[in-house]
């Protein structure tokens, strides 16, 4: 008994040793900066450069100014709209993909993976060309007689929305796919045998069983969409101002770091709320099927 206990202790010591790099790195380079961000958000901005160690709530009060409030609202609106569209397009896609026969399914997964691995900037640039005034889209629509003047979609809100949906769709597809793929279809059959219609069986069985995948997809869409300022930057010009854009501007141009920190804390709180909601809904701690 005693030797067994000793052995166990020795074993856990080597495991402790193995996990030390992760623990140290995490504390120094993840926890440290996060804590510093929270502290920074309560400090006062110095006259010209840097910060003064003077406690204040002003940075948070400043967020309530209409300009910044509007950017927060616009970010939330864009994130929600993006997530809803991504769900509506991505869920059926992942579902149908999982039901394809083996060979075609492999091919389909690969076809989804290629854009996913392709640099997001390349894909954004493609949209820039397509949406540009008098670009391919405008010419095609005008040639078909659908519109008679160029739409000039580049540098508008719909362009940003399209870019967001496009960039985040693969995450949803792959999460839903992995959830549907490992689903036990006999449960659906059982529901059908017991008299449930196709729709009812889908809603009560399939949807419930694939909820973790769907929720993972929602998280993987919603969280990044709050911060992808460069999509709004490139496709929206300066017309769509997101909270991410404001943070970047405050950091790099205005050099008001405490204010940028306060904005980040708020943004972090909003995304954490989403993740807590996820855990409540699915009852799980891990993101299912996260790639």
């Amino acid at each position: 008994m005693n030797t067994f206990e000793k052995l166990r202790r020795k074993r856990s010591r080597s495991y402790t040793l193995a996990s030390l790099p992760l623990v140290i790195f995490t504390i120094v380079f993840v926890l440290g900066p996060m804590v510093y961000m929270v502290i920074l958000s309560f400090l006062t901005r110095a006259e010209s450069w840097g910060v003064v160690a003077e406690f204040t709530f002003d940075n948070y009060a400043d967020i309530l100014e209409p300009v910044y409030l509007e950017s927060a609202v616009q970010s939330l609106k864009l994130a929600f709209t993006t997530t809803i569209i991504v769900c509506a397009v991505g869920y059926p896609f992942g579902y149908f993909m999982a039901k394809l026969p083996e060979a075609r399914r492999r091919l389909c997964v690969m076809l989804v993976m290629v854009p996913f691995w392709t640099s997001s900037l390349i894909r954004l640039y493609g949209w820039m060309i397509i949406l540009r005034a008098n670009g391919p889209l405008d010419s095609a629509l005008m040639a078909l007689g659908i519109t008679d003047a160029p739409l000039k979609l580049l540098y508008t809100y719909p362009a940003v929305l399209a870019g967001m949906v496009y960039a985040l769709l693969p995450f949803m597809i792959l999460s839903v796919y992995s959830s549907v793929e490992k689903m036990d279809w006999s449960l659906v059959e059982a529901a059908r045998d017991l008299g449930a219609g196709a729709v009812r069986a889908f809603l009560t069985v399939t949807l419930k069983l694939t909820l973790p995948g769907l929720m993972t997809g929602i998280i993987l869409t919603f969280v990044p969409s709050m911060g992808l300022f460069f999509i709004a930057d490139i496709l929206g010009g300066n017309k769509v101002v997101l909270i991410g854009t404001v943070i970047q501007e405050q950091l790099m141009k205005v050099h008001n770091w405490p204010f940028a920190a306060a904005l980040s804390v708020i943004l972090m709180a909003m995304t954490s709320a989403m993740i807590i909601l996820y855990r409540k809904v699915t009852g799980s701690k891990e993101l299912e099927g996260a790639i």
């Binding site: 010591r13 080597s14 495991y15 402790t16 040793l17 193995a18 996990s19 790099p21 992760l22 623990v23 790195f25 995490t26 380079f29 993840v30 900066p33 996060m34 510093y36 961000m37 896609f93 149908f96 993909m97 394809l100 389909c108 690969m110 076809l111 989804v112 993976m113 290629v114 854009p115 691995w117 640099s119 997001s120 900037l121 390349i122 640039y125 493609g126 949209w127 060309i129 397509i130 540009r132 670009g135 769709l169 693969p170 969280v223 911060g227 992808l228 300022f229 460069f230 490139i234 991410g244 943070i247 950091l251 790099m252 770091w257 940028a260 980040s264 943004l267 972090m268 993740i275 996260a290």
Partner: protein, 259 residues
């Protein structure tokens, strides 16, 4: 039944077509001799020639690759050791450590960029490859950790127990049994981390100093300020490289499952 299947195929094809549309457009325009993207002026390879002459571009590419390899490699080491060790260690608050280590995957990138910028300037670190490397490693670790952890949970514990019963020491059992079994998870996590690193814009924007450029940053600035058709050629080459990697990986995966 058969008709419904066909309708779903049409849907899949339509979405896939939309996914590839912008990429196809970029490729087509990379051979366009007119430098106005709205006009087709005939086939040319000039943009590729001009691209290869651009030395700054070559340096940005080298930086990107070096950064991707270094940060995904160190993430693989730190993440794997952590995923194996942490759950069985006697560290106080290991649940909290795990949660914080996974945070970079669950926070918007801009926050990571912001906090790293503030923190590294507090430490007075010079901005450049070092800060890029540290921040990239931080957001690469979760990808490896999650993959390895999931794989370890699915592992049959009797395998290592058998090895230990047969007299293998702690490290011998790890290197001979556990490591080969979790290798696929390590490599797929690392590949994912590498892809994230070489494609990162948001965090890198804050981490690059005045002197260092990565390819995504360079493209980003070009897209914002002024585009030359050279960028079409660059994007086409990057896309070709991506396809090669994806095909190679999926072929390797298929051979493994067949065996």
């Amino acid at each position: 039944m058969k008709r419904r299947f066909r309708a779903s195929s049409v849907y899949l094809l339509a979405v896939l077509a939309l996914m590839y549309l912008p990429i196809v457009v970029v490729i087509v325009y990379s051979f366009n001799s007119s430098d106005l993207s709205s006009v087709w002026g005939g086939f040319t390879l000039d943009w590729y020639r001009e691209l290869f002459r651009d030395r700054a571009m070559g340096e940005a590419l080298r930086n990107t690759l070096v950064l991707g390899v270094l940060s995904s490699l160190s993430a693989a080491i730190i993440g794997t050791l952590g995923a194996v060790g942490l759950p069985r260690s006697r560290i106080v608050g290991k649940g909290a450590v795990e949660y914080i280590a996974m945070l970079p995957m669950m926070t918007p990138e801009i926050i990571l960029g912001m906090v790293s910028l503030a923190f590294f300037s507090l430490l007075a670190l010079p901005f450049g490859m070092l800060t890029l490397f540290l921040s990239h490693t931080a957001f690469c670790i979760p990808y490896v950790y999650m993959q390895v952890k999931a794989r370890l949970i699915g592992l049959d514990p009797s395998l290592t127990e058998a090895a230990r019963d047969l007299g293998a020491g702690e490290s011998r059992a790890f290197f001979d049994i556990t490591l080969p079994l979790i290798m696929p998870a390590i490599s797929s996590g690392m590949l994912l981390a590498f892809a994230m690193s070489i494609d990162d814009v948001v965090i890198s924007v804050f981490m690059t100093g005045a002197s260092v450029n990565t390819l995504p940053i360079k493209i980003y600035t070009m897209l914002k300020t002024g585009v030359t058709p050279k960028i079409n050629a660059l994007c086409t080459l990057m896309f070709a490289a991506t396809i090669l990697v994806v095909v190679a990986v999926s072929l390797a995966g298929r051979r493994k499952t067949k065996r």
